[in-house]
């Protein structure tokens, strides 16, 4: 007797099974968002002594309950905030900061190390607007750091940080870390929130 070929398995319902699985995964899973703006809260400590800060070194940003933005006692659109913050941070009024490219205005901040941004919001302020303002302020710092990093090392600050995180990056990590820290010292992020 001739050898009979095994009958072929009917694979017609394979697609149905796969669809079933697909739909199960679509329903039970989510695409996770795991990125955001990192912040550090100030610790609660009862410090008796008040630190004296010159008024010109403080950049006041206020948000009211109607989501209006007031910067240095003037109304402002969120779109203009980044530029204003950069101008303030990069001012270098006391001429000790040789990498600042600002106007060297005596009436504005002394140097990036002394410049403080103070953010105040009301209870009714919308979270969305608050995040937008935070984002613009962080962007101002990042832009200045990027510029400084480009000047010194020919790389943007974001690239340097990405390289530091990257396990496959071939360069010297300790040197890179020192450079990152140095740029962080050049433009320290001093953002205080008023409770």
């Amino acid at each position: 007797m001739a050898k009979r070929a095994a009958p072929e398995v009917n694979a017609g319902s394979m697609a149905d099974i796969a669809f079933l699985l697909l739909i199960f995964f679509l329903v039970t899973t989510t695409i996770e968002t795991d990125s955001g703006i990192n912040r550090k809260l100030p610790p609660i400590e009862e410090s008796e002594e008040d630190v004296v800060i010159k008024k010109k070194n403080i950049f006041t940003v206020m948000l009211n309950g109607n989501d209006q933005l007031m910067v240095e006692d003037e109304l402002m659109e969120i779109g203009d905030l980044r530029k204003a913050a950069i101008e303030f941070l990069d001012n270098g009024g006391d001429k000790s900061c040789d990498y600042c490219k600002g106007k060297k205005d005596e009436a504005s901040s002394d140097n990036p190390d002394k410049a403080i941004i103070s953010l105040k919001n009301e209870r009714e302020t919308t979270y969305k607007i608050y995040i937008a303002v935070q984002n613009e302020l962080v962007a101002a710092y990042n832009e200045l750091r990027d510029r400084r990093a480009q000047e010194q090392f020919g790389l943007s600050f974001a690239e340097m940080e990405a390289n530091y995180e990257d396990v496959n990056w071939p360069g010297n990590k300790e040197k890179l870390k020192a450079r990152i820290d140095q740029i962080k010292i050049d433009y320290p992020q001093k953002l205080s929130e008023v409770q």
């Binding site: 697909l22 703006i37 100030p42 984002n135």
Partner: protein, 158 residues
């Protein structure tokens, strides 16, 4: 004579669907890889705001999630004001300290300083609630926080 006569039929030939399972499996694998299982069932609306200066959260296991937002359609009996959700249920501001303590107890001691609190807050919530959460977190010394946002431009979406 009629031996070579072609069979004439008006039907269109059936489309070959033999590769359909392959296509569906491909989609299936994509979703299995790109997504994660839901861990908490959200009882609130959680439409995150947009920002473009975002950083990635470093360690997945070292993140505590605090959700806040307006109760979703099925839970309108809890009001329309934004509320906090911890794990699977609504919570009040006073529960945060206990929640953080419980999360810390789960982790190894040397990892506790690296714990980050991710605030997943609906974009329409107001800052009063978030201010309260932050104050509570300061009390229990959980100072590293992350405002979880979607990636996108801030302006033009307000």
């Amino acid at each position: 004579m009629s031996k070579f006569k072609k069979k004439k039929s008006g039907d269109l030939p059936a489309v070959n669907t033999a590769s359909l399972p392959d296509i569906v499996f491909m989609l299936l694998f994509f979703f299995m890889v790109a997504t994660t299982m839901r861990e908490t069932t959200l009882k609130i609306e959680n439409n995150l705001p947009f920002a473009d200066q975002v950083e990635k959260l470093d360690k997945k296991g070292l993140v505590m999630y605090i959700y806040a937002g307006k109760p979703s359609a099925n839970y309108t009996k809890f009001g329309t004001e934004a509320r906090i959700q911890l794990n699977d249920d609504f919570a009040s501001v006073n529960d945060i300290a206990a929640f953080i303590a419980a999360e810390r107890a789960d982790k190894r001691e040397e990892l506790i300083p690296f714990l980050t609190t991710a605030l997943k807050v609906d974009s329409d919530a107001n800052m009063g609630l978030i201010g309260d959460i932050k104050q509570e977190l300061r009390k229990v010394n959980a100072l590293k926080i992350n405002y979880t946002t979607k990636k996108g431009t801030v302006l033009g979406r307000n």
